[in-house]
């Protein structure tokens, strides 16, 4: 880590965005999963 580094950039929006992305993937996956369990 370099010492003369200025303050870290604010990445709150990035954190939420990646969180939404993960949630979207999980939700769609579980929807397909229940369809699968239902049918097979």
């Amino acid at each position: 880590m370099s010492k003369k580094r200025e303050k870290e950039p604010d990445l709150k929006g990035t954190l939420y965005s990646v969180g939404f992305l993960g949630a979207f993937i999980l939700i769609t996956w579980f929807m397909a999963f229940y369809l699968f369990i239902d049918r097979f």
Partner: protein
């Protein structure tokens, strides 16, 4: 603030002679797009049940033209054109010998493309773009596609040789990011296309020439998908090159982290090849243990994909905040929504969210049964390749073509380009959305219109097929627009200087560790993973081979 030396770097131009080579590839790519796009429209019309093809053209012939021209030719040619320009721009003008390799590669590919296309047009090769045995095409179709691959190796060798030359001249320094990424993509391409070369040379050619009667279908499909999955990453990685190395410059920002970008490319190299079984999950004859293992390796690509998503969000947020965006999401509004070079690839990125989620479902072993060979799959790859990749390529064309032709994208063309991207997004949402939904209720892909003997289930699919035709018609408007813009940029736009945007790395980023450029390590791991995932199952496939199949011509 840009310093004088940064300004000087912005004006670096791709050498005219290299530009000509790159442009030759771009021409072929857009000719393929125009013809293939028309076929796509006709397919959706046929499948809606309202249109019959004239002049004895068959549906499967049309579908083969569409798949080959768009899935294989448009992609490969645009990628080579882009990669040639990117290497020349960042690692320096090609030597005469490297450029000669490029031209030899181009002509071999083009002779191959022409030969295969003629065979499809005279209805000797309606075997769809995966050329699955036991459907059997004329041998010239296979030989032509083999030439496309051999040509790409020769052109690729010219670019790799430039990289080696750069490394020798700059010992101990990381290579330019774009050149590094091109070399990762080419390495993956060369390693994976060996599989399809073996399939064509040792199975399909002798069989279609009549030297042998029968073909081992399972082995041929296994070799195909050893190639087929990395193929889709070969399409995607150039889009990622634009996202990582070009888009930050277009929005006025910096690359979030050079090391992270390189690491994610290396992970794509490692986890894109030993995973072809995820296309064969319903195939009998491969034991479920090896399918499971390749499913696990497949899902490893979630890691570099999320790294990419994180890195892009961070690039956007840092830039948007620098422009005064406030709150958690205020930065979003600050992005350059009036710039087609940003908007088209951005829509592509958004499309990759449902596309990626769908991909995880497809790859989830038993759950593949839900969607296998349904038109869901077609909906899926029209999001991945036909939206994410293609819209990013369109966005790149808006600076690449004028850069190479010495012209500029005018305000009107920029506006039209934004409209083009929106039209594409609307058309594709309708078409691909309908394909996903109706696929879940069992509608098959690769099927001519049929009422299936009056089946009630098949009757329920028809409204969705009509929706696909509506989406397809809107998409075709998108094709007309993009061709109009490209023709303008090639021959009619006003003369001037256009920048080839290449972003700088953020001052916050850590120094790039050289281990990322140690090919001995990465290629060894790559080959070890391939041997691990494929050796035992391929031996089993060969040892327990069923009787081979003769060829079928069902069209």
């Amino acid at each position: 603030m840009t310093t004088i030396s940064e300004r000087a770097k912005d004006l670096v131009k791709v050498d005219k002679r290299d530009g000509k080579l790159a442009l030759a590839h771009v021409y072929v790519a857009f000719i393929a797009l125009a013809i293939g796009g028309l076929c796509g429209l006709l397919q959706t019309l046929v499948r809606s049940g309202t249109f019959t093809l004239p002049w004895g053209i068959g549906y499967y012939q049309l579908l083969t033209i569409h798949g080959v021209l768009l899935g294989l030719i448009l992609t490969t040619y645009f990628i080579f054109g882009f990669q040639i320009a990117a290497v020349s721009r960042t690692a320096g003008t090609l030597t005469d010998k490297q450029r000669l390799y490029g031209w030899i590669g181009f002509w071999i590919m083009t002779i191959g493309t022409t030969a295969s296309s003629i065979m499809i047009l005279i209805n000797e090769a309606s075997v769809l773009y995966t050329f699955y045995a036991p459907l059997q095409a004329h041998w010239i179709f296979y030989a032509g596609l083999a030439l496309v691959i051999v040509g790409s190796w020769i052109g690729g060798a010219g670019l790799i040789s430039k990289y080696v030359e750069w490394r020798k001249a700059n010992p101990g320094q990381p290579s330019p990011l774009l050149t590094f990424m091109v070399v990762v993509n080419l390495s993956m391409w060369i390693i994976c296309s060996l599989g399809v070369a073996v399939e064509v040379l040792f199975q399909l050619l002798p069989w279609s020439l009549g030297w042998v009667d029968k073909v081992d279908v399972l082995l041929s499909r296994t070799l195909f998908w050893y190639f087929g999955h990395p193929l889709v990453y070969f399409w995607l990685l150039p889009a990622y090159m634009v996202w990582y190395a070009v888009i930050p410059k277009i929005i006025g920002g910096k690359i979030f982290s050079d090391s992270l970008a390189r690491l994610s490319f290396i992970l794509f190299l490692l986890f894109s090849i030993p995973v072809g079984f995820h296309h064969q999950l319903t195939e009998p004859g491969i034991s479920s243990f090896w399918k499971f293992l390749q499913v696990v390796l497949t899902l490893m690509v979630v890691i570099p994909s999320l790294l990419t998503a994180f890195s892009l969000f961070a690039t956007f947020e840092i830039r948007g905040r620098a422009l005064g965006g406030k709150g958690v999401f205020g930065w979003f509004k600050q992005l350059p929504w009036g710039d087609a070079r940003f908007v088209a690839p951005f829509i592509g990125m958004v499309a990759f969210i449902p596309a990626g989620a769908g991909g995880i479902i497809n790859a989830s072993h038993q759950m593949n049964q839900l969607i296998h060979n349904t038109i869901w799959v077609t909906g899926h790859f029209h999001l991945t390749v036909a939206t994410t990749v293609v819209l990013t390529f369109f966005g790149a064309a808006y600076w690449l073509i004028p850069h190479l032709t010495g012209r500029v994208l005018t305000k009107q063309m920029n506006r039209l380009a934004i409209i083009q991207a929106i039209v594409w997004a609307v058309g594709m949402s309708i078409m691909s959305g309908a394909m996903h939904i109706v696929g879940l209720s069992g509608a098959p892909r690769r099927s001519d219109f049929s009422t299936y003997g009056g089946s009630t289930q098949a009757a329920e699919w028809i409204p969705y097929q009509v929706a696909q035709a509506i989406g397809g018609t809107i998409l075709f408007i998108g094709i007309v627009l993009i061709i109009y813009i490209v023709v303008n940029l090639l021959w009619f736009a006003p003369k001037g200087e256009t920048e080839f945007p290449v972003a700088e790395v953020s001052e916050h980023a850590e120094k790039t560790p050289m281990v990322l450029e140690n090919w001995k390590i990465w290629l060894t791991i790559c080959i070890a993973l391939i041997l691990f995932a494929y050796t035992v199952p391929v031996i089993e496939i060969i040892q327990n081979a069923p009787p081979g199949s003769k060829g079928y011509k069902l069209w």
